[in-house]
């Protein structure tokens, strides 16, 4: 396992995402964290929810297994809240754009909401 001591900051998240480091990303979450994903297939009234660090670890393992590029463009931090936007591309040229809002608690991500759109 990679180090899990890294603090959750805009810079550390950018580094982990852009290097597709699933174990590092998973280590940023609290045990009872909640990730919600909202997109055209999972509308706001019934978003896809991933509960707990074990499920979130699988989530990041799956996403990081993809041969795609990620670029975190913009990170905004305010107290215990963090937001960033992300540009991603698959090898066949299709693109994904995500905006993520994070709530931190005791230095870990307690709640994250991702809104995403993609080429289809």
């Amino acid at each position: 396992m990679l180090a899990t001591k890294e603090a959750v900051t805009g810079a550390s998240i950018k580094k982990a995402i852009e290097s597709r480091d699933g174990p590092m990303l998973s280590s940023f979450y609290a045990d009872d964290a909640l990730v919600r994903v909202i997109d055209r297939n999972n509308p706001p009234s019934k978003p896809r929810e991933i509960h707990g660090r074990a499920a979130i670890t699988t989530f990041w393992d799956d996403i990081c297994s993809r041969a795609m590029s990620h670029r975190v463009d913009l990170t905004i931090a305010q107290g215990d809240n963090l937001a960033f936007s992300q540009d991603c591309a698959y090898p066949d040229g299709t693109k994904v754009f995500c905006a993520a809002m994070l709530e931190l608690k005791d230095g870990k991500i307690a709640r994250q909401t991702v809104v995403q759109a993609w080429d289809e």
């Binding site: 994903v37 019934k46 799956d62 698959y90 090898p91 066949d92 289809e120």
Partner: protein
């Protein structure tokens, strides 16, 4: 018809062959769908069931779809040098590489299953999990022996493109004109007759029994108990041979994964791959469906039929509206109307039956209640069940599922038990009732004394039946004499008794004798 979604089609290169693929959704993990015998990426979205399946799968995954070499939008194969299953399996890898998928759940349906099995055995590190629907490991053992295969290929050579193969795959949809038409296009746009024969010959070589024990991915097997194409024993064998595989046997007879109860299949796949159930679909509403079928086309001449049919259609529109319903679908001589409650549907059916009689044609109607899509023309299980009930109904009768009578309690409608209807889509036979509610539906002042009933109230066929009852013949004997099923004769007898307001066969016989006199009817 479902509106096709504008999905971009891309091409992966597998050796010298171009494989067409589409990517739908952006769920956290990748799911590769390996289709069966033939496919066409563009056409799938035009079928309600197929579109529903793909949409469901793409809500929780990044769904990667492709046409195997030799079918759909992918390159054709050299029919003189058919590729091995290994080569075709490698197309899955080529598509995954192109789509940037290092690891995916693999869903193999029918002929797609052995390809998925071979992929999972060859690339365990790239197989997140495995779902096999109506799969098999050996073609000749579980799908067709060489003689039947040759018959299938011969038939394909002569009538490919007409939809004639539908009976081999989904006999439950043969009467669904819209689906049968789509299926014929599906044949034409997926393969030429030569390509279809080549694909069938390629599939006949499938035997992956030797690799089953080496599969390490978590595996779910789904098979319909009465699958007409691939025997369920095929999946039971897979369940024994693939380590820790789980088998879900579900009800149903139609083979393609996008026919039958698609939601049940999607639920099983979603639960297996994500560990959770789908959130309840709030886009569905409870509705009562009335399916009205008119017959007598053969008895009346074309012209007379056309005139009467037109009159009936006009009356139908009026009566459905008057009972608070609306016509939601129509094909051939079948009309589907939707109502908010079953009592309204039954009352409308009774009015339609009387109107049809007045016009001089016969109706047969079915009523069922269940969930349907809130928008668009109704489709799916509830509609199919309603249509089956109407097909089962005899001339002039109104059959309904027992659920209808239970919901209509307190409405003043009356029902009698009418046996059971076996349906492939359901776990058990469907209990039926027949609506017998004239006394509540007709004007209260109408006289119902038997003396006022004329033989002309009966249809020509009912007059024939009543005359044979008077001869002391049983239902079975009448069925043989009139070339009808015994069930239809029973229906006629019930209608005759209802119309004449008589308590028994004996009374009907006496009535016939009274009416006919020495010269016969």
């Amino acid at each position: 018809m479902a509106v096709p979604r504008p999905i971009a089609t891309r091409y992966a290169r597998s050796g010298d062959v171009r494989i067409a693929y589409q990517v739908v959704g952006q769920g956290p993990f990748d799911l590769v769908f390996v289709p069966g015998f033939i496919s066409n990426l563009d056409l799938h979205w035009e079928d309600e069931g197929y579109s529903r399946l793909l949409s469901r799968l793409s809500t929780f995954s990044r769904l990667i779809l492709f046409d195997k070499r030799g079918t759909g939008l992918s390159d054709r194969v050299d029919t003189n040098a058919l590729p091995s299953l290994e080569t075709r399996m490698d197309d899955v890898r080529a598509v995954m590489d192109a789509a940037g998928s290092s690891r995916a759940a693999i869903l193999g349906a029918s002929e797609g299953a052995p390809m998925a099995i071979l992929f999972a055995a060859t690339y365990p590190e790239r197989t997140r999990s495995l779902v096999l629907y109506a799969g098999y490991a050996h073609f000749h053992k579980w799908v067709m022996d060489p003689a039947r295969l040759q018959g299938f290929i011969d038939a394909a050579e002569t009538c490919w493109g007409t939809g004639a193969t539908l009976q081999n795959f989904a006999p439950g949809r043969l009467d669904d004109i819209r689906f049968a038409t789509w299926w014929a296009r599906f044949e034409r746009l997926s393969a030429s007759p030569t390509a279809a024969a080549a694909l069938a010959r390629m599939n006949a070589e499938i035997d992956v029994r030797g690799v089953l024990g080496s599969i390490r991915a978590p595996t779910l097997l789904i098979h319909r108990r009465n699958d007409v194409r691939v025997a369920p024993d095929a999946s039971r064998y897979l369940a024994r041979k693939i380590p820790d595989a789980r088998l879900a046997e579900i009800s149903g007879r139609d083979h393609p994964i996008w026919t039958g109860d698609v939601n049940r299949v999607a639920d099983l796949i979603e639960e297996f791959l994500t560990g959770t159930h789908a959130p309840p679909d709030t886009e569905r509403v409870l509705a009562a469906l009335l399916v009205t079928r008119v017959s007598d086309t053969a008895r009346l001449g074309d012209r007379m039929w056309s005139e009467r049919s037109l009159r009936f259609q006009e009356t139908l529109r009026l009566l459905v509206g008057r009972h608070g319903g609306r016509i939601v679908d129509q094909y051939g001589d079948v009309v589907v109307s939707r109502f908010d409650g079953p009592a309204r549907a039954i009352r409308c059916a009774a009015a339609l039956r009387d109107a049809a009689q007045g016009i001089g044609i016969a109706s047969a109607q079915g009523v069922h209640v269940g969930e349907i899509e809130a928008r668009g023309p109704p489709s799916g299980l509830t509609v199919r069940v309603a249509i089956k009930i109407a097909e089962h109904a005899g001339r002039g009768s109104i059959l309904a599922s027992r659920l209808v009578s239970e919901i209509a309690t307190g409405s003043g409608l009356h029902f009698v038990d009418a046996g059971h209807l076996p349906l492939d889509d359901l776990d058990g036979p469907l209990a039926l009732v027949e609506a017998t509610s004239e006394q509540h539906l007709e004007p209260a002042c109408r006289s119902r004394t038997p003396a006022s009933v004329e033989p002309s109230a009966l249809t020509a066929r009912e007059n024939e039946v009543v005359a044979l009852i008077a001869d002391g013949k049983s239902n079975a004997a009448i069925a043989i004499e009139l070339s009808l099923s015994e069930h239809t004769v029973k229906r006629h007898v019930a209608n005759i008794l209802t119309k004449l307001d008589l308590p028994s066969r004996a009374a009907a016989a006496a009535f016939a004798v009274r009416q006919t006199g020495p010269d016969g009817p």
